[in-house]
Amino acid sequence: MIGKGWKLAALFLVVFMMGFVVWEIRDFGEPSGKAVDANLDDNQDVENGMLVWDDETGQIDIYDETTDTMVQQDRTMMDDTFISDSVDPNGTVNANNVVTAIVFDYRGFDTLGEATVLFAAVSGVMVAIRVAFPKKKEEEGGEKE
């Protein structure tokens, strides 16, 4: 049995910390933290390479096997990339609705997980609301435990 005072104190503490950050993030403007280098030769074609993590830039870059160099990729803000790719007639997706394009294409895997949650919830509801044993077994007493 925890007193009301303790609960209120904990609530206040968490809400204070959360409120503090929410208030702080309010006027940050463009994403900070890492300098965005927009003047890159982005989207180079590479003859023979593979996608690798570049530890220096913290992004996926292309390792060019023929020249043994790392080719850095476009690194603007996530959302600008989405919008400009959707607008671009030569882009991969071409959708009027950028949100749907993100939901089903750029981040389609998230949507698979989301559909899976719904599927799991339906299965869970049907598991919960059911008779655990077939009728004839129930008369015998079924599993006792």
Partner: protein, 643 residues
Amino acid sequence: MSFYNDLITHAPAIIIAIPLLFAFATPLIGKINKYVRNAWAFTAVLLSGALAYVLAWEVFKNGGDPNVYVFGGADGTAFDVLSNVRISFYVDGMAAFMGIIMATVAFAAVIYSFSFVKKYTGQDKYYTLILLVLAASFGMVFTGDVFNLFVWFEVSSVAICGLIAFRSNRGESFEGAAKYLIYSTIAGLFLLFAIGLLYGQYGHLNIKYLSSAIGANGSMMVLDKIVLGILITVFSLKAGAVPMHMATPDGYSEAPAPVTAMMVTASQAGLYAVFRTCFTLYGGNIQNSLAQIDLVHAAGYLLVILGVLSMFVGVTLALVQKDIKRLMAYHAISQTGYMLLGVGVGLAVFASGDNTDFAEFGRTAMTGGIFHIFNHALYKGLLFLTAGAIIFKAGTRDLNKMGGLGRDMKMTALFFIIGALSIAGIPPTNGFASKFLIYESVFKFNPVLGAVAMLVSLLTLASFVKVFYAAFMGPKNPEMKTGEVPKSMLVGMAVLAGMIVVFSLLPSLVIGEIVSPAVTSLAGPGPEIGTSLTMFSGQGAWNPLVLLAVLGVTLVIGYVIRMLGQKGTVPKGEGKKPYLFGNPTEVNGMPFVVPASNVYWGFTRALKRYYKPMEKMHSGLINEYVFWFVATAGLVMLALTFL
């Protein structure tokens, strides 16, 4: 070999697509008949297990170099521009290590389920949800994207709660499920909030990008610190660390046994996320930022505190339980403490900026902690399965009402002994091998912590002695069913027991081949611990084969002495003497019963002042459980912000 290469390239996607695909189709397949459905589920776990091992083999072969997979990327020479912002899977040594744990336990659990849930209705849904739990665990460990992590976190908790409610004839299972769901949902919402903060600040969701951006300009913002606090709290709730463990025993004890074994691995995915947060997200460029060192150092101490609390509280509460599965659930909490302690010590030393210390014992502590994850999944899974077998036969979960099961269930008793020795850390088991590394390195870090770790092992052994005696020995309750459990349950247990035996005999090889790449992918390369059959921790050495040889010689000598001694058996009647727990006996002419659940009554009486508040703390009220989570989250945030 082209097919094999394609398979390896796409393995991270296929490995999660297989359980999902099979789970989605299970309701359709279930319409045919139950044998096809069982074969279907078996195929799913077999395929995804095999693929997990193949993938891990490829990753370990490269010394833990990551296998990166970008969802939705185009193939061919012109690479997709968007690969930086799409969801990606990042399968490095640690993720592959976790993947094989999930696959192994799921394999055993599904085989075990064939007989275990035979009498119930709704088995289609059962196998569906089992496969979804497996997929969610894979997703949580492989993903390289924070929001994706949240999605799989939720899939995991929803699917698990559906399974906890599987025994819908019991009202208690709904109580456990509801508590577990409320707890994990609130944690999930905190996680969502933290992800929103990260996104708002850095404009990206990719873990590797965030890791390079956090603290890149030389100082940590308050936002980073608070996000770290939320992430640690949420994921250690998933892992079941004290004081946010409240709903864990409820869920563990009410779920069907194979599900509980899966829940252990699912909670280890939470543990993995804690380590990922500390090492990859925040420790990513620890070399170039002083601010990061302080923060991650504090996080290391935080993990150590959580670990010690979990170890001690878990084991002391397990000692007084009378419900066999609840007892084991508290042990699961206690063992999670070892992993948090080991890796926490590693993290604290890693972030102290003292490389010699890290090479000397920090890395050993991490190796021990991470090796313990695998061992824990194996023996805890095995123990939960044996508990399920006991309940299956005894028809009760109350230790006071069991007894004498060892006469019929010899194989189950053997498996139980293997698991119990391993969890208690008795040489020459694998549990000892990992605990040995933890003891030695933690003792070097702080002698008191090492002593606590030893003590907890001792209490673990004590409580498993109690379970073994209460369940398997003594006179038999005539109401119980006779005979061994069905074959499929034995096979399921044998899979895990066999792996424990292998791990016990060759700990050094396992560390060298599997654990070291995992440690390397978290904390960078370092000296090897297991290179030959003997394991060198820096302070000591351990070779189970030598010990087994010594034990064998001793056994032979003992046998010879016995042969030389007096012939004959124990006089008739002596073997039927009443045992103490559960059976009425006489003390000074008065009937007297010490129930099995209370056999350590002296201990609990002596620690009355500790157990009273503990009992109050575990009040069963979900309000107060949420209070503990909120208070811990607040304190952790406060500590990380202002220390």
